[in-house]
Structures are given as structure tokens and as C-alpha cells.
Assembly symmetry: C2
Amino acid sequence: MPRRGLPYGGRMAETTAAPTTAELMDAVAAVGTAYFHDFAAAAGRLGLTSVQAKALDVVREPVPMRALAGRLGCDASNVTGIVDRLEARGLARRQASEADRRVKMVTATEEGREALRRIRAEMHRAREAFGSLGAEQRRVLHEICGALLPLLAAQDTAADQG
Amino acid sequence: MPRRGLPYGGRMAETTAAPTTAELMDAVAAVGTAYFHDFAAAAGRLGLTSVQAKALDVVREPVPMRALAGRLGCDASNVTGIVDRLEARGLARRQASEADRRVKMVTATEEGREALRRIRAEMHRAREAFGSLGAEQRRVLHEICGALLPLLAAQDTAADQG
DNA sequence: TATTGTTATACTCTATAACTATA
DNA sequence: TATAGTTATAGAGTATAACAATA
């Protein structure tokens, strides 16, 4: 099949062939790993683990402990310790639910929200890397991610999306 | 700017706008997280942690303990325990280097390679998700990943690429 | 009875520091 | 002296099982 000019900017060689599923998975895994590394490093500079940072992101809006466990993809018993540590540093707080006195809602404090903003600002490599993409590349990548996510997260909806 | 027909298959609406860097980062993070979850689950079904599985992948070819630490992105002291556990299960083995008697080369056993093959085969969601992409989408996604990776991993080359 | 959050336990991963054996 | 691998230690994340409070 003849290869036409590249559709989203035409920066690369025309010889680029469509990769196999395995090659694609390796490439996405490498990018995902590097992205996560940048995220963990940014969180670490603020003295937070990556799980703590992710939890902080989830609780920008009040969330029950149980649901937080779902969003973090871990057992509910872990969340106790994770929120304990966030609370001890004043980044989040527990509040009893009025509707159901068994549940406790977790919410980020203003300091917690500020920490999260700083982490995002500290992700220098990711910002540079994604910022370097052209409009068409961004659009295509975003669209492909949107198509992939529901398939990748298919049966975890209840647990992962909380 | 007027929007032309989509270049890689034209499946979606023409109204899709170019996302901001932040939106793009969130989308890629979500896909990366879901991918990693699929990987960890596949490894878990074989009784392996994700780090053990990644280590197994690295040592398909003989690698010094120190270099393995670099590829895993962790301190060298951790690798002792990780390889201990792989070795205890017969999935990898240590061999003294002939050139430098201080270094130990780690290599996957045939059983270890088989375990790795099974993990890859067990990543059902990822295989379905990426397998569902058309040739043009695969090509574009692969190319963008290739452009992103060196920027994301820029200064970690020595540590991350071993 | 079922559910929420917690505790107790045990394992793994993690970094730091100190050690040994080589170089 | 410098480096490779190990050990010791402490902290954090993880799942399982059992528990108290509430529904």
C-alpha cells in the first residue's frame, strides 16, 4: 500500500509502517512509565508518595473512604493509613457523613489543593513533552486516548471510577 | 481554523478541538494507569508483583544487578530482594561475571521467559484495546510515543535505560 | 444481615547507611 | 580509593481477616 504524506504535520519519514499490537503496547508502556516517573518525582519533591498525591487529586471533592479505595484501586483497609498521613500533614480531613453515619467523607484542605497544584506545576518533563506536540498531534492523541480508556478500564468501572 | 476531514480514518466528529496540555496529560495518565493496572493484574494472576514482572522482562538478556536497578528505577539495594524472590521461584538466576568478579549477571530461566510470555498473553484488555485501533491510528500513536519518550525520559537515560 | 471504616498481621517495595569483596 | 553486591533498618503500600458501629 502506497504511503501518502503524514496527515497531522508530516514531520516523519514516509517509511513508517503500522506497528504491531505488541510494539504499540511496548511504546505506550514506555511513555506511561516515564510519565509516572515524572509524576512520582514531582510528588516526591513535596515529600509525598505517588499514591498520596493521587489520593489528594481524588479528594478535591468530598469522597467516602470506600470510594477513595475504588479510585485508588486498592483495598479499603489501606485507605485508613493513606488518609491518616495526609491528615497528619494538614492536606486532607475526614468528616462524618450526615446521611449515613457509617461513612466518612474525605476532603482536601486548601493546603492540600495548593500542594496538588504545585505537583502539577512541577511535572516539567511531561509539560515540555506534551507541550511540544502540535495542535493536530494533540487532537489525535487525545482522541485515541478517549477511545482506548473505556476498553482498558472496561470491567473496573465500579472499582476504578468509584 | 476550519476543520478538514480526519486524516487517520475520520471516525469522529469534526468538532473535536485540540486539547490543552493539561487535558492531554490527564488523558494519557488515565490510559497509562489503566494499562499498568492490566499489566499488574496479569502478573498477579501468576503470583508475581509488577516489579518482579518488569525485572523478568529486563533480564531476558543477562544484566548486572546494578544495571537492573537502573532499569527498574530503584536503588541497587532493592534488587537483591527482588532477584532473591525470582531466583527462589526458579524464574531467574545469578551468575558471576568472568570479566569482573564483583558483578553478578542476572538472567531469566526458560521458566522465567515462559512466565513473561504468559503475562503478555494475559493482558487481555490492553490487547483488545490496542488491537481495536486501525492501522493509521496505530502508526500515528506509535510515532507520537516515539517523539514523547526521549523528552519524558531525558535526564534519566543513565538510570532508566541502564 | 449487610456495609463502613478500622485494626492486626504479614509481605513487598522503597531509600539510606554500613559492610564485604573485589578492582 | 572506588565500585558491585549485600545486609540492616525503617517507612510506606498492599491484601486478608477480624472487629465495632451503623444501617
